[in-house]
Symmetry: D2
Subunit: 350 residues, 4 copies
Amino acid sequence: MRTFECDYTEGVHPTVLAALTRTNMEQMSGYGFDPYTARAIERIKDACKAEDAAVTLLVGGTQTNMIALDLLLASFEGVISPETGHINVHEAGAVESTGHKVIALKSTDGVLDVDALEAYLSTFYADATHEHMVRPGAVYLTHPTECGTIYKKEQILRIRALCDRYEMKLYVDGARLGYALGCPENELSLSDLAALCDTFSIGGTKLGLLCGEALVFPKNAPKHLMSQVKRHGGLLAKGRVLGVQFDALFTDGLYEAIGKEAIRHARRIREVLIERGYPIAWESPTNQQFIILSDTEADALKKHVGFDLWGRADEGHWIVRFTSSWSTTDESVAELCNALPFRTALSDRF
Amino acid sequence: MRTFECDYTEGVHPTVLAALTRTNMEQMSGYGFDPYTARAIERIKDACKAEDAAVTLLVGGTQTNMIALDLLLASFEGVISPETGHINVHEAGAVESTGHKVIALKSTDGVLDVDALEAYLSTFYADATHEHMVRPGAVYLTHPTECGTIYKKEQILRIRALCDRYEMKLYVDGARLGYALGCPENELSLSDLAALCDTFSIGGTKLGLLCGEALVFPKNAPKHLMSQVKRHGGLLAKGRVLGVQFDALFTDGLYEAIGKEAIRHARRIREVLIERGYPIAWESPTNQQFIILSDTEADALKKHVGFDLWGRADEGHWIVRFTSSWSTTDESVAELCNALPFRTALSDRF
Amino acid sequence: MRTFECDYTEGVHPTVLAALTRTNMEQMSGYGFDPYTARAIERIKDACKAEDAAVTLLVGGTQTNMIALDLLLASFEGVISPETGHINVHEAGAVESTGHKVIALKSTDGVLDVDALEAYLSTFYADATHEHMVRPGAVYLTHPTECGTIYKKEQILRIRALCDRYEMKLYVDGARLGYALGCPENELSLSDLAALCDTFSIGGTKLGLLCGEALVFPKNAPKHLMSQVKRHGGLLAKGRVLGVQFDALFTDGLYEAIGKEAIRHARRIREVLIERGYPIAWESPTNQQFIILSDTEADALKKHVGFDLWGRADEGHWIVRFTSSWSTTDESVAELCNALPFRTALSDRF
Amino acid sequence: MRTFECDYTEGVHPTVLAALTRTNMEQMSGYGFDPYTARAIERIKDACKAEDAAVTLLVGGTQTNMIALDLLLASFEGVISPETGHINVHEAGAVESTGHKVIALKSTDGVLDVDALEAYLSTFYADATHEHMVRPGAVYLTHPTECGTIYKKEQILRIRALCDRYEMKLYVDGARLGYALGCPENELSLSDLAALCDTFSIGGTKLGLLCGEALVFPKNAPKHLMSQVKRHGGLLAKGRVLGVQFDALFTDGLYEAIGKEAIRHARRIREVLIERGYPIAWESPTNQQFIILSDTEADALKKHVGFDLWGRADEGHWIVRFTSSWSTTDESVAELCNALPFRTALSDRF
């Protein structure tokens, strides 16, 4: 049975696998001192139009977030995150393990409420006791968010302005960035992110790599970056594994193509869901689509197709997620079409 | 001009000062290996009816909280706190500096909402991804709370039961504990806390000491407690400074007497405030009394008496705090009476 | 030009690459909940004769060491390491980043001096101030060591006995373990390690994987292991990448075969070096061979073959390392034979 | 029986106690916002001839060291210390608890060997793998040292030059600084330290305060210093306790007078020890005097006078410490004279 539970159910994009295979027996230095890593970094800088950027290739998303924030923050500073933010919910306290508080603010469908951010900051600095409180040193965002939604450019510009006014850094977690870039609605290019962020990540794991996230510092590269990465257990001995993959991913527009294609499939999945009577939980322009099912409906549906029980809507109902990815094909969406019963059929059976 | 801004505006209770003076030139070993510390610990254990307890004397409240929680929690665990909790707001991230997340839950007037706690825990463990989330390893409470309110015994019993069910520790921050114990409404004695908590603190700083908090582990004393305290910078060379003070504080009922007397004064302060037309923000049975003033009223009042701008009620209004303490006397309350204008007079002037 | 600088210059063993390729488009759950990870763990437990073991698959060596030690140690404890130990020298402070002191003791050729260990411990506990000092909570060893040497069983038994006497854990870092197991001189099998250690690692990166270390807890699996791994940024989204690789590595004796074959090549390399007049720095039975060259000799030799400038012998001389690995072949050793000048020729040229 | 075991066996200097008593019932703001703290800081800046300095008053020595170093170091940097340094031996891993490695170098009688420091640094940066190692970000010294010895000005100048060359900070732990300043041999004044250090501490606890260390940043005050102190549990609610004490200590030359007088007594103690035949372990110009006794001699002597078993000289012999302090008087030294048997008498009895 085919599953659409998440965007990392398969291994590696065939083009990337071919590159790994082709270069496999070449002898290279470790720790990223190989020519493929060097070339991958150049390609990423080109894609971001950020020739002064420092780029480091890391293995996983949580690792990338904890390293990025530990490098951006002074030891006593915390990071503001929407309450739904991955660092606040699903990273097992990795950010706090480096000594930094995550300051959670209200969010709507995963997007940080900029008014709430502004109110928080003006209240914070108006409070005579704020030196007893954790100074917010950075803002953390995901684009797309955990809910599949994306930021408008105007929102990011306002957040950037607040960061400037209150001396904070801006970090955008782009674990699924390619699936935002693939949306017609998206207003934020790689070069926009390079212009507006202090650092941001370009996720590879969910875009067809075995593993790998590129962390981009558009300017002001941290000192001793390699040493800091190593200290957090993030320096891969065979750096080539990341270098060869990212080199392939950023060659001939593969990264962009993957994003666009997955969005095309996501929209077809959405249509199918609607056609069969499933209620959309909220609008998502990206590769994650959310519907609401009663517990009994969810139990019945999982005999037909794989999906993710994303979270509770209320007692008795699940928010359910279907995901497209680099590995989704017209065939697999057709399979979903064939397998997916009309929603009424699910309830009828109970 | 007299101030009622907080309960640590004066130095040390005269009886305690006399003990410090009397013992000053006695030669004693450092680090708590002096006879006064030994005797203080015995007196505290007696007061708690906890003969198996381990007690360590520490200098300050934030230090006590961070040490207590770091000792109770496994390295990867977090602590649940009401969102108003001191560790969540006013300790500059001390708990996070030791690697632990503070998981903030809804509170009403400083009291942790037990229903919200129960809902949080059942939702947490129902979530299939909870191993990606920070395991709650302890519950943190203040008694009295930052809002001057106190827990009912039934609330603590329910929290204890949830701690047992979900394998969590219970820590009660008693920075102002004496002012709860001094309330007729208080249902929780020192021996109740010893029976129900994994650890709790008995604050001395706000009860008339120069500095000093006693941290009580009623059973299961942590291994190498002294070494752990030292590692956090909490071991005082001249341990006698704490030992002599706590010995005096727990002699002849001084601690209890201070609490009761301050509550008597707090109630008189409350009466005076009401008499003069000041609106009580919420009911507090302890030594902190809260009223609401417009910004202009607050500006006018501060020419007559000292108080604390505790926080914003809304745009245009402050929550204002008046505090009694060990150092409050009938004379100082009479001074307040004389100095305090009728509220209407404040507004009239503008 | 061929290099023998280290044992991770190539990608992945062809058999393992075939397994990755074969399983690439299978849909699997993430985070290690895939059938290959499950089977890999069973195979590793079988190889260790440790059916009650918990095994977790991690990406890199530094990450494995910092996680292993953070799980073994209480927050206030430190770890004893030979002064040459990888955690003490070449991990950029990863262990200290988790709050633990590395207590460095004398070593001879990488091997912890057991007499020095015993003396340290008896002195430590005889010191009346030892609660002011960092309690040693674990002993860290590498087998083989950074110098290519290996422990005798009797040494490990003595260390184990000291660990028992002084309530310490024993962790063996097996980043190159396969190259010890492949030596005729080696006295410590996987099942010996499982019987004697609290935890140990089985390195894959240097034994032919793209990346991957297996961390084995023979008994007393840590609670919430996955959550703790996640907190340190060590949980791979596509856990299959490690699962498929370790499954292949522990199938049909591949791991053992790799070790034995590399040792056969190392011995031939050693012979060649001696034949050509290079002075052996010290005897190493494993895959790393060390010679001493003057600076001018080293400069001349690097035009012929790649090697590692391992460290300074003294002013004017280098300790130089040649390494065999899973990727070494009779052909590559023959290439070395052809390329390697007689040592006198190097000096003659200057 | 009188003891000379350490310099913190009594409470507080009578002049300081009088100041505490005199100001006791004055109402003051907390957290150091009181006039005595302000005045103490001005007096300390004057004494250091450092008008741009930031000064913060802290409770204890370990706390001061961990805060000072955490403020000076980037998160990934370590601190170089002589192997005998207090932070390396007797602070229970407090520095490591903040994530920083202590890099221990050879020392002679407590003094960092400047040649060893220079060799370490040049070797470190010559090592091609040094980004895998912990970058030394600061040098830590004690003056006087744990062995009672002091630095020559030329040594500090060389260390400062190395700090400048290798971009490191210099921190001098002055827990007993007053007892160096009181020595005729001392070449380093408070203003020299202010000119040469990035930060240094002026210990009060061992110079006659109940508790208290002043941490001086001669220039480049850390941002949000109060918040950082709070985060480490180092902010005292009743900051007046430190302010009033330091104000008194730095009034009318009390601090200098205490140091000089204690040194006068230390020299008389040294004479007495020599007269009675006790072998001096090494020369110390400051308030700590060290002799060597066999175990049986030590057992016998402790029936006559209190002293500290400082450490083992070898199996069978102790290094024994006698200490003068602010509380030593001509009478107490006379008591020692009367109580101290000739050394031969000790051995005769066994």
